[in-house]
Amino acid sequence: MTIWFLIAAAAVAMGIQCSLGPVFNIGGAKLDLMPAIVLYAALTGSWRQTMGAAVVAAFLLDTPSFARLGLSVPPLIIVGLVVNHFQKLLYRDHLIVQCGFAAAFSLAASIWTWLTLQLSDAPLPMSLGVLLKIVVIAALASVVAPLVFRVLDLLRRWRRYGPVNVETF
């Protein structure tokens, strides 16, 4: 896996999110594909690839948004590095691992956004509605993570396709 593969995946994911925003939207909570892509890098690649994917995904997330550039970088890097550190202890193909860590990424990003909004000119007061929105965003991110893993695995296998040498005993 190369970093270009992850960048291309993040760009396509962002295109889907921006174009189909109204479709993947539950009561104002939008589907976020970036946690799944950074998680894929953290569970599959090296720490360099994880950090590269986290930075690119964060910038792609901030670019078409009103958020200032750099907002989403810290949560994605921190959670990405923690997951990458324990990569060998985690079974990446397990559904619970994929869903659980995608939710963790999403929660970290939402809570960080909420914290930075408290310092802005238009602070966001915490309410039950906002709390539920954060939970639903995380739930959506966790539901879509296994699908993103399958698609990216499929693409990687397709890219590396070649004749197989079969060795007999």
């Binding site: 104002g28 948004s65 039950l128």
Partner: protein, 268 residues
């Protein structure tokens, strides 16, 4: 190796925090515009795919639905034509009266039509991307409207696209007036929790103002961004005074901001 990994992470986090907190709005916006320019082909591709999908779905509609829609559109067209004739008459009368009293003729509004090609991927802010940019004469801080009412204002503009901050975003503030009573106020977007419709509030209305529920709110023309008289929305209930100093009320935007597909940018 472990140290290098964490040093790199700490360095990147510090850089991003500096970019977020320390870089002034101007250079940050410029960086964003460069990134948007790189990213806009992906947005256009997504918009084209969506248009193809919508077109295919429309093609598959049943004949009955099409006939019914056709009938409704014909009725609407007849009504619009009547309205148009009436508006033309009123405009002529207005022009004659203005000439009689010697009013300076206002510049005709120059509009630029644009398609919405993307939406804010985040759940916290409300922006849309349109396929008109500086090549079409669009500049930052220009009002964006639909026939139904105000949509928002342009914030960053590239050669062929622009980002529009919607009127329901908490960072968008519009000087407004209640149409009937002429009371002034400030319209600003509000953050919404799960399940609540995006909306805005009108604040800083004089506490002695007598305003009824469902009153129409229009732009006041003060502030220099939004021209006077564009409909913003209508009050959901009569304004109430929470602080004792001013009145405020929630506003339902006239334009359907969740489903807008085409907009107009006011160029002058």
């Amino acid at each position: 190796m472990l140290q290098r990994r964490y040093l790199a992470a700490i360095g990147l986090i510090i850089l991003s925090l500096l970019l977020y907190f320390a870089v002034p709005v101007g250079p940050s916006l410029k960086l964003k515009m460069i990134a948007t320019r790189v990213f806009s082909p992906v947005l256009r591709l997504g918009a084209a795919l969506r248009a193809t999908w919508d077109g295919a779905r429309h093609e598959l509609q049943s004949r009955g639905v099409m006939l019914e829609e056709n009938r409704q559109l014909r009725e609407k067209l007849a009504l619009q034509m009547q309205e148009g004739l009436r508006a033309q008459e009123l405009e002529d009368e207005n022009r004659r009266l203005r000439e009689m009293v010697g009013f300076r003729q206002a510049n005709p509004t120059r509009l630029c039509a644009a398609h919405v090609i993307g939406r804010d991927p985040s759940s916290w802010w409300k922006t849309v991307f349109i396929d008109a940019g500086s090549a079409q004469g669009v500049q930052p801080n220009r009002a964006v409207i639909t026939p139904a009412g105000l949509v928002g204002k342009t914030i960053s503009v590239t050669h062929a696209s622009a980002c529009v901050l919607l009127v329901v975003d908490p960072n968008c503030k519009v000087s407004a007036r209640v149409e009937r009573t002429r009371d002034l106020g400030i319209v600003e977007g509000i953050y919404t929790g799960l399940g609540s419709e995006p909306g805005c509030r009108i604040e800083f209305i004089n506490r002695d103002a007598k305003i009824e529920a469902f009153s129409a709110v229009i732009t006041s023309g003060l502030g220099g961004v939004f021209p006077k008289g564009i409909r913003i929305g209508s009050l959901e209930r009569a304004p109430a005074s929470e602080s004792g100093l001013y009145k405020g009320a929630r506003l339902r935007p006239s334009a359907d901001l969740e489903r807008i597909e085409e907009v107009f940018v006011i160029l002058n």
